[in-house]
Symmetry: C2
Amino acid sequence: MIILWIKLIAMNKVILLDKRPEGVPVLNDFKFIEEEMPVAGEGQVLLKTRFVSVDPYLRGRMKDVKSYVPPFELGKPMQSGVVSEVISSKNKHFKEGDFVVGYVDWKEYQTSSGKGLTKIDADAADLSAYLGIIGMTGLTAYLGLKNIGKPKAGETIVVSGAAGAVGNVVGQIGKILGCHVVGLAGTDEKISTLKSKFGYDEGINYKSTDNLEAAVKAACPDGVDIYFDNVGGAVSDAVLANIKYKSRIIVCGAISLYNDTEPALAPRVEWRLVVNSATMSGFIVGDYADQFPEGMKQLTEWYKEGRLNNSETIVEGFDQIPEAFIGLFQGKNEGKMVVKI
Amino acid sequence: MIILWIKLIAMNKVILLDKRPEGVPVLNDFKFIEEEMPVAGEGQVLLKTRFVSVDPYLRGRMKDVKSYVPPFELGKPMQSGVVSEVISSKNKHFKEGDFVVGYVDWKEYQTSSGKGLTKIDADAADLSAYLGIIGMTGLTAYLGLKNIGKPKAGETIVVSGAAGAVGNVVGQIGKILGCHVVGLAGTDEKISTLKSKFGYDEGINYKSTDNLEAAVKAACPDGVDIYFDNVGGAVSDAVLANIKYKSRIIVCGAISLYNDTEPALAPRVEWRLVVNSATMSGFIVGDYADQFPEGMKQLTEWYKEGRLNNSETIVEGFDQIPEAFIGLFQGKNEGKMVVKI
């Protein structure tokens, strides 16, 4: 009797980090477990996961090395940006039916003290947009461009990973600001989307182009003022060979390097930086938290005006989260990769 | 009779760029010629060269490649910063006996319209100091540190080429500003001078140290806030492995790379910059010409107060200019290398 009763209780699915990946992550690095359904305690809310953001930078947290955020712990749940619905609340700031965004565990249900959760307006935009174009992804593009790129109308911006989550927004903002925008991506489909959907002036398929340095030069006849780098690697070398005097390089991500087990070698950048009085800065959006409200306001405004196109690849099902994440490294996403639960 | 008469006329020595160096420059890349003695025309001054500055960055101008200044032309005189004496003047702004500093040809005598010449006070400081500690060298250290390094008291500054012309001044200014200053140099004599003469807290001989990365770590227990790089190459890789969150890297020179015929390879810097929110900027002192007056005022003040030690290696004789220049790449100088005529 007792055994039967237990089996009737709904269980809660959780995704743990089981192994630290070597090279590209594989499904076996993750572990699915079931735990008892959580219940909101005093001051807590019970959250139901609705949309999960999977992002290349999570690969960094899977390594056991010092970085700008502590590494994920083995045997503990993975985490990322998540849109949740408040199912029940014992916290006066939230009520049942509220939607919130926050950095929480990969669980179907979880409790929270409410700390770090932001209420979002489900009528103003699609829920998933709060993870993308008007969420952390949009902020990364907007604040990186604004604080380090400092674009002026007429300048040339080159974007690597241009069809990716952050890249497509960088291109769109660049066009809003009156810049010449050139994108690098890895398939002809993506190149076509860059122009048709995101307003890019030029697109270069880095996989099918023999002389990438010459292709960047042809697409940027006046040279490169701003390079927004989401990728790193050989693609960057070709762009850096075309930078202008006083150019600004935003190193936002290095997806091509995340899975390296040895530090990759590349032509030294020092001389290029000196002869061009150029600046190369690592950008972490979390450093600019004080600018989030202004950034979200601007992004939401552009989005509502129809000037920003929200590009998403939506995968369905809680069980698909690890696979969606792994897909990022295979270029499976166009725009923001989100898992709908 | 005519031939004899010509031979009695004093001739003017000139040093031309004869060949573009391959790798480290050699004497044979230069050519000595004699030309007729110049005479000041209307509006001109006749200058006698007194001190010639030889600097690593000149190596860049000897290459036929785009850089922040146009390359030297083959068969034309070499140029650099020079302190000259006005021998005769047909320009109302200068009179005989004035001393001036400017960027002019490697000639014993030459005429000038006066454009680009700055009068200097021979009583306020040694003439050679206007090429060094209170001249372009001092300004490079001061303005690079101020504009890109932005040092705060208590921060750690690492300097490569620390006993060199710019490096020794960076260290001294760092100490004036209350920083912990660590220098890298290539001989034990230089390391000893770093501490005894320039106030460095720690010195590391990069040639005799096996594990440079560990040595930098030991000398900078709190990590590196500012790296003032005059050298580039493997020395930089060891420093970059120790940078802190929000660190600033001033790429001022890359003497170790100037003579490379192929671009050298190095571990990619992108990831380090991202995880540390770090900034790496190429620095060219000429970009900050509007700050020269303020910089010279501050440097002269510190110099007169005895807080800045002027370190020079003085070579004598016009004919020795190319050899002094070549000596820079062999580490023959301590402090600023100057040729006295």
